[in-house]
């Protein structure tokens, strides 16, 4: 565990905590982007260069933007009654999450695991080769899934026939 790891973990955890706790949704989405950049830094720190850059490209460049667009498209109407969130719901949620966290951390600490020391790198060429040989079938399926998701999203979000644009 090094100083850089601690700093990166702080960025990730603070970003994530901010992403679920701000009241302004735009701030939440931006904090999500910060957490994602932190995760990319963690991947780079661990030597997975390709995954780190893909993380930035997909999450910061695409997912955050889509979330922001969705937030701006779903503004509540002015003077709509505010959503009253019962306090016990919140407390229960946080309590359950805290319990799960305690359980997971206890389980991790209780498991004897040895860490492999020394560098481990994977080149883009290796990844490409693996994707085209061992993981060819999953790659095709993911391609299909993405296409289906794209078409599904367009059909879902497109205005229906005859419906006037909001």
């Amino acid at each position: 565990m090094s100083i850089s790891f601690i700093i990166i973990s702080m960025i990730i955890l603070l970003g994530a905590a901010a992403a679920v706790s701000f009241s302004n949704l735009i701030h939440c989405a931006l904090s999500l982007a910060v957490a994602m950049v932190g995760l990319a830094m963690l991947y780079l720190h661990l030597g997975a260069e390709f995954v780190g850059f893909t993380q930035v490209l997909v999450y910061v460049g695409a997912v955050s933007i889509v979330v922001l667009f969705a937030i701006l498209l779903t503004r509540p109407a002015p003077f709509s009654p505010g959503v009253h969130v019962p306090w016990h719901g919140r407390v229960t949620g946080i309590l359950v999450a805290g319990l799960v966290a305690g359980m997971l951390v206890g389980a991790v600490l209780g498991t004897p695991l040895t860490s492999h020391v020394g560098q481990r790198v994977i080149t883009v060429k290796q990844i490409g080769m693996e994707l085209m040989t061992t993981y060819a079938a999953p790659l095709e399926i993911v391609g299909l899934l993405l296409t289906a998701a794209l078409m599904g999203a367009v059909i879902l979000a497109a205005p229906e026939n005859g419906e006037k644009k909001p």
């Binding site: 565990m1 679920v20 661990l46 995954v51 040895t114 899934l145």
Partner: protein
């Protein structure tokens, strides 16, 4: 001194629980999707950590899994947000408590 693999796993479990807390405690559908994203990414951290610190050298399964997971998460958020926008069009709100028209 805590081992690097343990540190990564603790980080990922904390991240998972932040996501879980977001899903359970917030009532906005978009925020719940954000929480789900965080949980998915916690899983990714585990994959990369085991790839990096695991004892089985020479295998790329962890990285591959992370890449596929990112691709699937992108698809998930696209469909999820499309659903949110669709629901918003019908009930003019993104609060999960108001979307209770389907009582079984």
């Amino acid at each position: 001194m805590i081992q690097p693999l343990h540190a990564c796993l603790i980080l990922s479990s904390l991240l998972f629980c932040i996501g879980l807390a977001g899903v359970l405690a917030r009532h906005n559908t978009i925020l719940m999707l954000i929480g789900v994203e965080l949980m998915l990414n916690a899983a990714n951290v585990n994959f990369i950590a085991f790839w990096r610190y695991g004892a089985w050298a020479g295998q790329s399964a962890g990285v591959m899994f992370a890449i596929f997971s990112i691709a699937v998460a992108a698809a998930e958020i696209a469909v999820g947000l499309a659903l949110v926008i669709l629901i918003f069009r019908h009930v003019r709100t993104t609060s999960i408590d108001r979307v209770d028209g389907m009582k079984g």
